[in-house]
Symmetry: C3
Subunit: 152 residues, 3 copies
């Protein structure tokens, strides 16, 4: 459990990473795609193959802030979305590196045929890594696993 | 990103503000109105105009701990309520001042006619400011914005 | 509000206890019973008498990591479960002792007759105590109270 980082720096890193992930969620649900892209490192990788909860989705890996934001934007086009993160387990592994697991819940609603709506209510975990670049923590990788997905 | 406050004091402020907001939620849902009033500064302002999710509500601004607690108490009279806060972004702006954004979800259920029940399931963000008064952080302003409100 | 513990140690304790509770939830929902047992102290006590939301459940007290894990495992056998914790209020009462309150939400689904499913959606609070044993924080007691339980 010994950390190579002094206690105050480690606590600051944990708090900054929590704030980073909070911006991830707020920008996603308020459709602020510029703000959303800004939480990722230049070489970040996102793996959403498990997002639908059943068979792995094809072409669900995106790379770099621009492509990741474009991928997510396409995925939630026309939907009202709510994403919440809970109960982080963040491990600071060095002065500029960290990893984390977050419980998550998402609620998506989309327009259906004839004025109806469809939706998805999902639960799972984000598995992430982080790097401090130029004094700011950024997400370097993010992978979603699911406990359960309900369609309605 | 430089803060005028030293790292440990800033971390303590963030933790105390999280505890303050936790009391806000617990006292609200357990209907402890004395405890609820105690989280607000004497000159605090609450703006709940967006609470219902549609047109702005009239007369939705209340001021001071007593009036705020009375306003909220009237709003949830006879209901079972669940309010959760998530993913805070707290910025400590000085030794005794801070601001924060919280993702939120609320679930209200009220008695309907003929033994039925009605309810509201809402999602949004609290936009808040805080001040440290006499050694304790208090809420000085709170405004709710909505991502979505479902009535049932 | 004065604490007997220095600020950095207190902040570290709070962060470690949050990580401990995050493991509690993740191991519970991923059915990692060995990891789940490992968050409890040797003399830990769990009281789930209010779990169903109505009359107190009989025989709802379990003691020690092994019995607690066995009790919870039996309680969720065959179910998909999602448990989330929110808004902790953690008070560090000494170098090796602390207490906490967590808002919680749980969503259980179980197989019903003829291929149907039944479920429970609950809300409440965990009331807990912690002790630092051999350099690691562990749960020494946990009691669930309910705001509301919906069966579906």
């Amino acid at each position: 459990m010994a950390s190579p980082v002094d206690p105050v720096s480690r606590l600051e890193a944990v708090e900054e990473i929590k704030g980073l992930k909070a911006r991830y969620f707020r920008c996603l649900d308020s459709k602020d795609w510029e703000g959303f892209a800004a939480v990722f490192a230049p070489d970040a990788v996102m793996d959403m193959a498990e997002a639908a909860g059943g068979d792995p989705l094809p072409d669900a890996t995106s790379r770099g802030p621009g492509d990741i934001a474009a991928y997510v934007r396409r995925s939630v086009e026309g939907m009202v979305t709510v994403h919440h993160g809970h109960m982080p387990e963040i491990t600071v592994t060095g002065d500029t590196t960290a990893e984390g697991i977050w419980a998550m819940e998402d609620l998506l609603r989309w327009p259906g045929p004839d004025g109806t709506t469809g939706g998805l209510h999902g639960f799972g975990h984000y598995h992430e890594t982080y790097e401090k670049v130029g004094g700011r923590w950024l997400i370097t990788s993010i992978r979603l696993t699911r406990l359960r997905v309900d369609m309605f």
